[in-house]
């Protein structure tokens, strides 16, 4: 892999292993997709929905493992089905915490059932829940390239309408914009992005790439384009550093990624609190 990070011998040594090259490639692609998609997830307050996708995907992946199909197929199937269902209920449905929570709990239960029916290794379940970036194959990398290209093209196509509809729903609707289409399209993008991000972070740690980088970036820029670039940068940096550190320590990659993004988020928020004196009380409305 040819990131011109630092010609450290450590890095050379690490990239000597094919599984680390695969991990860096898949991690990079996923970080780009998650950083960009995550910005809209945060803007539209759909974080919980995104999480629900990953859990529905978990049930799908567990079912796939049970019938000896690639877990990614189950993940995609599960999360896309969930995405279409939620989109069909309309934008306001994405904020229905209770219903989403109910479906989420049921999905986890189903996943648990499939896992317990599976007589193979329990590590399958573990890797879906917490990520198995170090076990990514060449084929999975290629598949991730395809998904990455499709998602970027999709977001590029709907960028302005999606931003407008997310920011100012009522006016966008009155302007005759296809709200149902936009909502459904976005949910599909999130479903696919989540499915691939699960490879890196696992179902349970999906927020670390889909939400935290974008939430941090929102504090750092008031311009959507800039915030998206920052969000992607944070996701990339966390993934690379996480992989690098994990290679030389006995601890899991996902942990380092979550720790790095959380540390950054905390640092940004605390810095802002420190440098921004309490806003002067506004005289009136």
């Amino acid at each position: 892999m040819t990131f011109s990070v630092n010609p450290l011998t450590d890095l050379q040594q690490m990239l000597h292993y094919q599984f680390m090259v695969n991990a860096f490639e898949a991690g990079t692609l996923v970080a780009i997709v998650a950083g960009i998609t995550g910005y809209f997830v945060v803007l539209r307050r759909s974080a919980f929905t995104a999480h629900a996708f990953s859990e529905i995907g978990f049930a799908g992946a567990a079912a796939a493992v049970l019938v000896n199909v690639a877990p990614i197929a189950g993940l995609l199937g599960g999360s896309i089905t969930g995405g279409l269902a939620i989109a069909a209920l309309g934008r306001r449905a994405t904020n229905r915490d209770t219903q989403i929570g109910i479906v989420l709990a049921f999905s986890l239960g189903m996943g648990l059932l499939f896992i317990s029916l599976y007589t193979g290794y329990a590590t399958e379940a573990y890797s879906i829940l917490f990520g198995e970036i170090l076990g990514v194959s060449r084929d999975q990398v290629l598949l991730t390239v395809g998904a990455c290209v499709a998602i970027l093209a999709g977001i590029g196509l709907v960028y302005r309408p999606l931003l407008f509809a997310s920011l100012d729903e009522d006016v966008a609707e009155a302007k005759g914009m296809p709200m149902l289409f936009l909502g459904t399209f976005f949910m599909l993008i999130v479903a696919v992005a989540v499915s691939f991000a699960v490879q890196v972070t696992g179902v349970l740690l999906i927020f670390s790439l889909m939400v935290t980088p974008a939430a941090t970036a929102q504090y750092l820029s008031r311009r959507p384009q800039t915030a998206i670039i920052i969000s992607t940068g944070i996701a990339l940096m966390a993934t690379w550093v996480g992989l690098f550190v994990a290679f030389y320590t006995p601890y899991p990659v996902s942990f380092f990624i979550t720790a790095i993004v959380f540390g950054l988020y905390l640092a940004v928020r605390l810095t802002r609190l420190a440098i921004r004196p309490k806003k002067l009380p506004v005289a009136s409305l």
Partner: protein, 274 residues
Amino acid sequence: MNITGSRTVEVGVQSNLITAENLTAGYRDKTVWQGANFAFGRGEFVAIIGPNGAGKTTLFRLLLGLQQPISGTIKIFGEQPKRGNPQIGYVPQRHIIDSETNIESLELVRLGLSGKKWGFNPFSRKDRDAAWAALESVGAVELAHRPLGVLSGGELQRIFLAEALVSNPDILLLDEPLSNLDLRRETDLLHLVNDVVRTRGVTALLIAHNINPLLPHLDEVVYIANGRVATGKPSQVLTSESLTALYGVQVEVLRDPHGNVAIIGVEEHHGAIQ
């Protein structure tokens, strides 16, 4: 669709931007109001007043093509309203921006122009210039880089107005823009809307609770209450005689020495004599 700036009097059909004939509005099983007739020309300032739930916003929904009339006709430039009409700039009611939204105002105004366009071109110079011009026209240039989430009610209304004006519409629909403003900001915003109406030749329809702050600027008033609609010049519509005739019950329109009115007898007061 250009601002012709023609101050010459345009006579006849052309000068009527919005017309309604025997218009009845409502939902499948419920009529909200009936028998509305009006005609508004270019560059008129129209107030829509009436009690809560009387169907003021329903009129906007008809104009926006979001709802169909039960009977009668409503036309914009002689055509039936259609959803997504670029001739209309719209500021909805209780139009709130999440206080967590850390996006600069300029972006929202720019999206008012380019939000409908597909594809990725967020750095368009033309859009940016148009957004600046719109901010300038509402006196909100200094708010351009402030995040939407921290703006006050009055500042937000200016930004929304810029967002609505940026595509250079012929008609402005403002749904209760004064509801969260104190007296001074209310006056400021009304002066601003009046300026826009007079200088751009835009026809503004503004829904309000209290007619009095609007009276100095108004050309026409639409009074909606109890399923009936009265329209005309404020001085003609807002009289005890005309409203009593319309409603068939005794309605009193009181006036104080400053010209403020209070309408008594139709559910609630619309106006206040201080």
